[in-house]
Amino acid sequence: MAAQPARPDVRRRPARPGAASLVWIGAAGLVGILAIAVVLNIQDHGGTVPPSSTFAAVAIAMGVVAIVTVAMASHAAGTTWRAAIALAGGFAAIALAKFGMGPTALYQGNRIEPIQNLAGTSSGGMVVLIAIVVGALYLAAIWLLAVVFRPAAPPDGPSGKVVIGLTVFAVGGTVVTSIFISTAANQYLDFATTGLEASGIALALFVAAGLVAVAFRGTAVRSKALGQASMYLTVLWVAIAFLLVFQVLWIVFLLAVVAIWPFRSVTPK
């Protein structure tokens, strides 16, 4: 059957994230930072280790932010409400895992083996290892979003080999860490991969994957716009987390973003 000609009388939605989507994603960042700041202001009364309720409150706040902003950004990018809400639910589940369960597991690990001595002998390089593994997982996730969720072989995307390589690196890093590191890093991984936290994280990620799959099935095409919006949001969350830890470097992050964005533009003069 021949393809139907485009209907000139029907207003077509943009095929890429427009200004409205980016505004929603930006709003997600701002509201998320404010929510975390409010929670910390209420909950952290000078204790050296935040209580678990802090993580729970942050996770709930970020989950709500994710539901609203991802749904609005996705819809603004041209998806149906059903797909937008499903995607939002997926990101809300990821927010619960990222801001609630993950940090809780980290501090559970910290109770047994201190992490303050960064990369020192007593810490077993816990933070560095965690950073490398989590960073590799993020890279793999971002590249997957950039490549797999696009409608066709992208002219500017990495090859499948790169994606496979990153995934293998991430999985390999996790396995190697588990096998050869017997100190705090291993304990963190124990908490993150076994017990209640692991069940919670696994459940959250399973729900997230299911809802994201529903979202993409609902859009009929694996929308490039949706993939890009998801990628931007993932990068934004990494940036928020980084800024929370290193607030004094806001100028550095600003300059770094300006320096690398747009990725493939160069200024010869």
Binding site: V248, P262, V266, P268, K269
Partner: protein, 326 residues
Amino acid sequence: MSARLRLLGLMVRPRAAITMWTFLVIGLARHAGPTISADLVWATIALAASYAVAASMNDIADVQIDRTNGLRDASRPLATGAASVADIRWTAATAGVIAVAAALPLGASGLAVIGLCLAVDVAYSATPARLSRRWAIAPVALTVAYVALPYVLGIVVAHGAWDAADLPLVAGLCVLFFARIILKDVRDRLGDAAHGKRTLLLRLGKDATCVISIVAAAVGIAVIVLAIRPPAPVVAAIALDAAAIGWMLTRLRVTTDPTAELVTIGTAARAGNAVLITVIAWLLLSAQGAPPAQASLVIATLTAIAAIGFLDLALRPERARVAYKG
């Protein structure tokens, strides 16, 4: 009126203004660490406005060259005919007033620095000095206007005073920037040659210009490292950036395709930006008393991010888009 205000915004050219601002931030970070103040906002406005003066004056002076070089994008309203000479003169005058007004809260020293910036901006493009036509002086004037004066403005914002440790840092930054700025004429060489504008590139040739750039980049980065004395991992990160710059400049020597040349220069500039970001990060973190290991981890992360962007361009230059500092 709104059209002229839009024109004023257009002449700020954010990417170039941010380059100048980077050096202001380095001066600020060196003297005050991580600081946000009203003075920083005023200094930023003054610097951006002074750059608008420079861009306006230069567009008027080089309009024929820009047209010969085919620079007819939106960032060149005079070359495209979207604005008249009178419009651009209004822009320059208004931006000059804004620069001075924004410098007032910074006190006499801030006014003096912005005054010097404006003086260099005018002398660079306008007669009788017209430094842009003097091949040996032009890059030095640009280096002073882009690096040294913004750095000093950063010290003013920090309410600090110039000390002995500033000299090697500014010298290193200036030499590194010199390595970059002498390559800016590669894009415009046809128009420059057609209109008799003598540049270092036309005077000495591409090969010699590339060699000078390579040597200047290496010397500049070495001096910067000696000036800030970071821990070994940070030195390694900077050395990686230096190697990237050297790689691209070596490639530039043998590249003949005009577009490939521009991509190579832009890619080298990205590695140069990574050096500056590393310097700022180290100055801020050390001012906060961060342990070297922690600072090194942050800088390693930043370097890794910069390396991804750099390698993507260096290994697949055919996919790069050439943009301008609009």
